[in-house]
């Protein structure tokens, strides 16, 4: 594989600039360049580049196109909800707005190819033209003929054009039923830990030394590498947490080289970041403004689901949880005062798979909910409308889900949509031991 700097047909100075902007991706860029060949030669009609998120696919292709000044158009398939938008963008970039205006109201692929052919016979291309399509997996959901036609566009329009598809998903999931022209597949491998270190260290600000920053990146990778190897996420986290890392040094308490103390300072902070910023529970603005002395004051998005419920609503929710996660035949044993003898062998669960906590909540009818509710609430409660309206408000809060059809008014069915932690917290507030009543924890 030749080095990036020695390709005939392209200016050496431009290639040098390209390789500066593409650290750790020289091999892939070199391969792409050698496939593209000299500008006036033909390139393979379609290329398919696949790889993980943030593995540099768009970056490499865009840098190559811009620096080497190749005629190209970059289309994001997320924007092109209809194929008319795609056709317009391509014609606009290659032939100018008068060609794009020739497209009729809702253009078909036939119109696009016809206009393209017309234009290209008037202005034949001296160089290969490139159509770069990002997030190409969305092309599968567009009309069925679009993807096969794009793959053989060079043949259909009789021009030196090449289509480059970029995607996260492998090619096997794209192939249409009756087959199509197979593109050349190129894989962009993920960055190794050393490469991530190299790229992240390049983003330092100059007020601190390079070793200091790379020790920071090492600590960051040590916490996050097992969970996430996405370059964009790591860059974001590195930028957010660096000021906290530098705090002891800036205050003069710790010297730059005392990595152990710095580690002790930053590690709990990073662990907390994993629970909040990484999961997008809090925005990065909130994170930066957080005062470290207020422990636990950082409210994430999921904290908003912990609403304060009225007394009976809590018991209704507890009853709903018990109804969802206990099988109906066990109700007698839990909720009736004198249940008599119950054979243990039928009662105990057969194997772990049937544990309801793994399978999810089961639907239950309204009557069962009320029966359990009356047995669980210690005081006597009358079945008034206020109880029933509390059930409806639980559904609106999405703590219960209505499972039956809207037309069935006489016997609605519900499911409980809360987790065990949530319901344990609620039952603790009313002094109710829910674990004693759950079949799975017998």
């Amino acid at each position: 594989m030749e080095g990036l700097l020695e390709h005939p047909g392209y200016d050496g100075e431009k290639l040098r600039r390209v390789s500066e902007q593409l650290p750790c991706r020289e091999v892939q860029a070199g391969m792409l360049l050698s496939l593209m060949g000299e500008p006036q030669q033909y390139c393979y009609p379609s290329l398919f580049i696949y790889g993980h998120r943030a593995s540099g696919k768009s970056h490499v292709v865009n840098v190559l196109m811009k620096e080497l000044e190749l005629p190209h158009v970059t289309v994001s398939c997320v924007e092109c909800v209809s194929s008319a938008l795609l056709f317009e963008q391509v014609l606009l970039s290659f032939f100018g707005c008068d060609a794009a205006s020739l497209l009729p109201r809702s253009p078909s692929l036939s119109d696009f190819v016809r206009i393209y052919k017309q234009r290209t016979s008037e202005f034949p291309s001296k160089q290969t033209r490139y159509i770069v399509m990002e997030q190409a997996e969305l092309l599968r959901d567009a009309s069925v003929n679009l993807l096969p036609a794009l793959l053989r566009l060079q043949e259909l329009v009789e021009d030196n054009v090449s289509v480059i598809l970029l995607s996260e998903i492998v090619w096997d999931k794209f192939r249409p039923n009756t087959g199509c022209f197979e593109p050349l597949l190129l894989h962009f491998p993920d960055y190794s830990k050393a490469e991530l270190l190299q790229i992240l260290s390049a983003g330092r600000n100059s007020s601190y030394s390079a070793e200091f920053y790379s020790s920071y990146i090492n600590i960051l990778l040590g916490v996050f590498y097992t969970v996430c190897r996405d370059l964009r996420e790591l860059q974001h986290l590195a930028a957010l947490n660096f000021s906290k890392f530098c705090e002891p040094v800036a205050e003069g308490k710790v010297k730059e080289t005392e990595t152990h103390k710095l580690w002790k300072n930053i590690e709990p902070h990073l662990k907390k970041a994993m629970q909040t910023v990484y999961l997008r529970e809090v925005s990065s603005l909130q994170w930066e403004q957080m005062d470290e002395h207020e422990t636990g004051a950082l409210r994430g998005l999921s904290a908003h689901t912990h609403v304060e419920l009225p007394y009976y609503s809590k018991f209704l929710l507890i009853a709903a949880y018990l109804a969802s996660y206990n099988p109906a035949r066990t109700d007698k044993r839990f909720f009736v005062k004198h249940h008599g003898k119950i054979k243990k062998t039928n009662f105990l669960k057969k194997n772990e798979k049937t544990s309801n906590h793994l399978l999810g909540p089961k639907p239950f009818p309204l009557d069962r909910l009320l029966a359990i509710f009356y047995s669980v609430v210690d005081s006597r409660v009358a079945p008034t409308a206020s109880i029933f309206s509390q059930i409806s408000s639980l559904v609106t809060l999405q703590l219960l889900t209505l499972v039956s059809h809207d037309d069935q008014l006489d016997s609605p069915k519900y499911k409980c949509a809360v987790s065990l932690d949530f319901i344990s917290a609620i039952s603790r507030t009313v002094n109710f031991d829910i674990v004693k009543y759950l079949y799975d924890f017998l």
Binding site: M1, E2, E6, P8, M31, S34, L35, G37, E38, Q41, Y42, C43, Y44, P45, Y50, G51, H52, S108, L109, S110, V113, R114, S143, N145, P148, A149, Q154, E155, L156, E168, I169, V170, W171, D172, T178, G179, C180, E182, L184, L185, H187, P189, D190, K193, T226, V227, C228, R229, Q275, Y278, L279, S302, H357, L358, L359, G360, P361, T401, V403, K415
Partner: protein, 426 residues
């Protein structure tokens, strides 16, 4: 004389390599017609005769060329047309209309395209026709020669013929075959398709008007012939400007190919990508194709994409995949949800004393969703809004062997994870 020519025409190495790229790229990427199509001589003769009969004798014909993708159907047709157009009578008289099932998705669009390609837009003008048949007869009438005795022969080429069979009522096909059966005008209808069962797609009335003439392009090459074909395509033609260079190149290709008889069998279209990969390695610094190039190119073409993607997953995601594999083994392929996977993972963590992977549910959920975005797992029965995300049933889209192979190549995989993968109770 040839010696003198070879001595005179000696180009610098950069120029040679550039010429090599130019020629071979035209062959692989642009699919330039070879001088003589190989292996399809009988079909070539048959088709040429058929089309000649239409043009010269005014006989209407229809034929379907059937063959798998990359068999050379379009190439066959184009070389027949190239041969025919060298005769003056054909050049003067024959009109060609090329339609493609991918582009003309509707009969209305197809009719507009036919009008355009026959250059009869002015003649049609603003007329409104009652039916498709009227329109088509009008077009064909307009092609009659001055003395109204005979009409010019028209060749209709229908690429991706099976897609035309999916139009409403198959009107285009019906009318074209109808014209070819009745004595209205000499037309030849040539359909190209990759489906072997194409006749079953046609309606009864369409099928009866078709002449049932089919040409099959099924490859009957033996393995040595196949290797020779690939080798020939990588060789330079005789009229290369620098004769000595061409000879050296061809000799190198022959020698290297004969050494590599374990080059794996590739599909026809994949041979072009294989040859492109070999060609892309040729440069001024390395002016010929070496055996390592061939091996690298074949390894590249046959790489497993799923294994490549598994290589880039984080360790947590890999552990989740191993947990899913164990669930599949125990419950024989039944769908699972996040809770079950997390439970399985927790069982593994309980056996190991280190708490390095003891993550909370939301982080496991994020890793799980990443796997879903990569389409390594898919919802078992379509996403439904009524079930909570952690209880939605999914299926794993990977094979047992793919996972084990990927684990071998995974960089710095912890040994306890590897041991867990081999046995659920390690």
């Amino acid at each position: 004389m040839s010696k003198r020519k070879a001595k005179d025409a000696h180009l610098p190495i950069g120029e040679c390599i550039s010429q090599v790229h130019q020629i071979l790229r035209k062959r692989f990427c642009h699919q330039q017609l070879p001088v003589k199509p190989e292996g399809v001589e009988a079909q070539h003769k048959h088709l040429a005769e058929l089309l000649k009969r239409t043009v010269v004798h005014g006989e209407s014909n229809s034929v379907l060329i059937v063959g798998p993708r990359g068999a050379g159907k379009t190439m066959l047709l184009r070389s027949v047309l190239r041969e025919l157009s060298q005769e003056t009578e054909v050049q003067k008289n024959l009109l060609q209309v090329h339609l493609n099932g991918l582009l003309q998705t509707d009969d209305r669009i197809a009719l507009k395209e036919i009008t355009r390609q026959l250059q009869l837009e002015n003649v049609v003008g603003d007329k409104v026709f009652g039916s498709f048949a009227e329109n088509l007869t009008f077009l064909l009438d307009a092609l009659k020669k001055g003395d109204r005795s005979s009409s010019r022969p028209v060749l209709f080429v229908l690429d991706e013929f099976d897609l035309f069979a999916q139009h409403k009522n198959q009107t285009l096909l019906y009318n074209l075959f109808d014209v070819s059966q009745s004595a209205q005008a000499p037309v030849a209808v040539v359909g190209l398709t990759c489906r072997l069962d194409v006749l079953e797609l046609l309606e009864k009335r369409v099928k009866s008007r078709f002449s049932h003439r089919q040409m099959y392009l099924l490859s009957k090459l033996t393995f040595p012939q196949y290797l020779e074909r690939i080798r020939d395509q990588l060789s330079l033609p005789d009229d290369f400007p620098d004769g000595k260079f061409a000879q050296e190149w061809n000799a190198a290709v022959t020698v290297n190919f004969s050494e590599l008889f374990n080059v794996l069998l590739l599909q026809k279209k994949e041979t072009y990508s294989f040859q492109m990969m070999c060609l892309s390695r040729v440069s001024v610094a390395r002016p010929s194709i070496t055996p390592t190039d061939l091996l690298d190119a074949s390894r590249f073409c046959l790489a497993d994409a799923n294994a490549n993607m598994l290589h880039g997953l984080s360790i947590l995601e890999l552990c989740l995949i191993i947990a899913m594999k164990h669930l599949n083994d125990v419950y024989e392929g039944e769908p699972f949800n996040l809770q079950m996977v997390h439970n399985e993972f927790k069982k593994f963590l309980q056996r190991k004393s280190n708490s390095m992977y003891n993550f909370e549910q939301p982080i496991i959920m994020k890793a799980f969703e990443h796997l879903q975005q990569l389409e390594l797992i898919r919802p078992a029965d379509g996403a439904s809004a009524k079930t909570q995300r952690e209880f939605q049933l999914m299926r794993l889209m990977l094979d047992h062997s793919q996972i084990m192979e990927a684990l071998q190549k995974y960089p710095q995989c912890p040994t306890d994870v590897k041991q867990w993968a081999t046995s659920a109770f390690a």
